[in-house]
Symmetry: C2
Subunit: 290 residues, 2 copies
């Protein structure tokens, strides 16, 4: 145990809070396990109405100095990043002085793709005496378990598509592309990069409507997995009811994620939505491909 | 020389003609080299107005028996496939009898992604006594030469992006994904799969307009290369003035293709459009990455 971790015991957990419902799932899970939490909500990203129900402070991206002061004032050492955050252009930020002094290292992190950026930001927090935790470490119950989440199971054909998808993601991993791919009949239909999973699935839905997808509706799989080099403290893949809705609109048979390495917002609702649409949502054992 | 190739000498070249202007560039090049041509235009794909200026016949996808009769009637042995063709769903086809007898092999080809499909179709032509040629074999002057096509050259930063893009395409090659990728600051911004190059570039333009691209406008490269396993008789990557326009709209610095393995429609207009927009269009030596 490091000195930081010892100090952190009993201190409130800081949740740096982006968009979506995951920050609140993490906050609730940590609270249920007996830990107090403070949300540091990111302006323009976090859901203000829901933030208001928790102890919270507001801040902007690029104001590391201000954030550091707020964290110290609140006595926080353990920090979790969670929720969506569109990576802003550097010149769109109103940087505070502390952030300016960090700029050379941030700029280097920015050049190398998402993994490098996030690891770079993580290092900066650690060097400033904070302890950066993954959401899965403070709220393990938000992780996808192994096996199907609802009643539907992947078919043999679906398992072949999952295998192809995981193989592709592994091969593309060193290039720090997206975390997700759509495969049907072992044929890669779409690859996620900067646009994100929902926009990629919307593209598949459009291509299908335009007759550009050769396989029948109700076949094909969304496969989502962490990048091999990904800093799991930041950016585990996540799914929620919205993902199920997008998979249904794209006309796919289901979706596969990695058990223990994927966050699920609202698992009961995900399972219910999958059952209503008769699609599968399956947590794959890490290291397997089928 | 096979018997087929001997018979083919002096017989008209059959150009199976999809969408876009490439079929006409090939037809003109073959005609200029002293060979007679007949266009077999694909209904719903080929440009009817331009087809009308050449000796031609119309046919539909899935009517292999009819095509075979037309080719034999015209005394054609050498066949070139060229131009865009959206892969149709099997059930959208009105298949003739000959095609029905080929269905088991076509269905097997359909399952394995584009490369397998095209190689499968190629084998069927060869087994039926035709000689399938690549467009580059009958019209080598339509291939991109080495070096910049216009006045602008890639910068050192652009060359790093080209290296990353070619590396990515090589890594993803076994998965038979698309032929193109957009890279900026060594970060993969978009990957082409079923949607095609123009739609991928439109996506980059939209993401940039939405502030989702962290690098400045005027940086980043479209990199396009044949898939490693690709049957080059069918589906060499191609660029034209439209590609340059899409690269400009996406706010990129330029585009890189492989010399001798990429077809360029209207090279003079491509160079002029690149010069007007001050972007580079560079033919990379095959096997190099920078």
């Amino acid at each position: 145990m490091s000195a930081v971790a010892t100090v952190a015991k009993g201190s409130p957990l800081a949740i740096i809070c982006g968009s979506g419902s995951l920050p609140f799932a993490v906050a609730d899970a940590a609270t249920n396990s007996g830990r107090s939490v403070i949300l540091f909500a990111i302006r323009g990203a976090a859901d203000a109405e829901r933030v208001a129900k928790y102890p919270h402070k507001w801040g902007s991206v690029g104001q590391f100095g201000r954030l550091q002061r707020m964290l110290n004032d609140a006595g926080c050492r353990d920090v979790v990043f969670i929720g969506g955050l569109v990576r802003p252009a550097l010149w769109q930020l109103r940087l505070d002085f502390k952030t300016l002094t960090l700029l050379p290292r941030l700029a280097a992190a920015f050049r190398g793709g998402d993994n490098h950026l996030l690891s770079g930001v993580g290092d900066i927090f650690e060097r400033n005496g904070f302890h950066l935790l993954g959401a899965h470490e403070v709220a393990p119950e938000i992780l996808v378990p192994e096996g199907p989440l609802g009643k539907t199971k992947p078919s043999e054909r679906d398992r072949e598509d999952i295998e192809t998808g995981l193989g592709y993601l592994r091969a593309a991993g060193p290039y720090d592309v997206g975390q997700a791919v759509v495969v049907s009949g072992r044929h890669v239909l779409a690859v996620e990069a900067v646009e994100g999973t929902d926009r990629m699935l919307a593209r598949v839905a459009e291509l299908r409507a335009a007759g550009r997808i050769p396989s029948a509706a109700g076949t094909g799989v969304l496969v989502k997995a962490p990048k091999p080099e990904q800093d799991r403290r930041f950016d585990l893949p996540s799914i929620g009811p919205q993902t199920v809705a997008s998979v249904v609109k794209a006309g796919l048979a289901g979706l596969a994620i990695i058990a223990g390495e994927t966050i699920v917002a609202d698992p009961a609702e995900v399972a219910a939505a999958a059952d209503r649409a008769d699609i599968f949502v399956v947590g794959m054992k890490p290291g397997t491909t089928r």
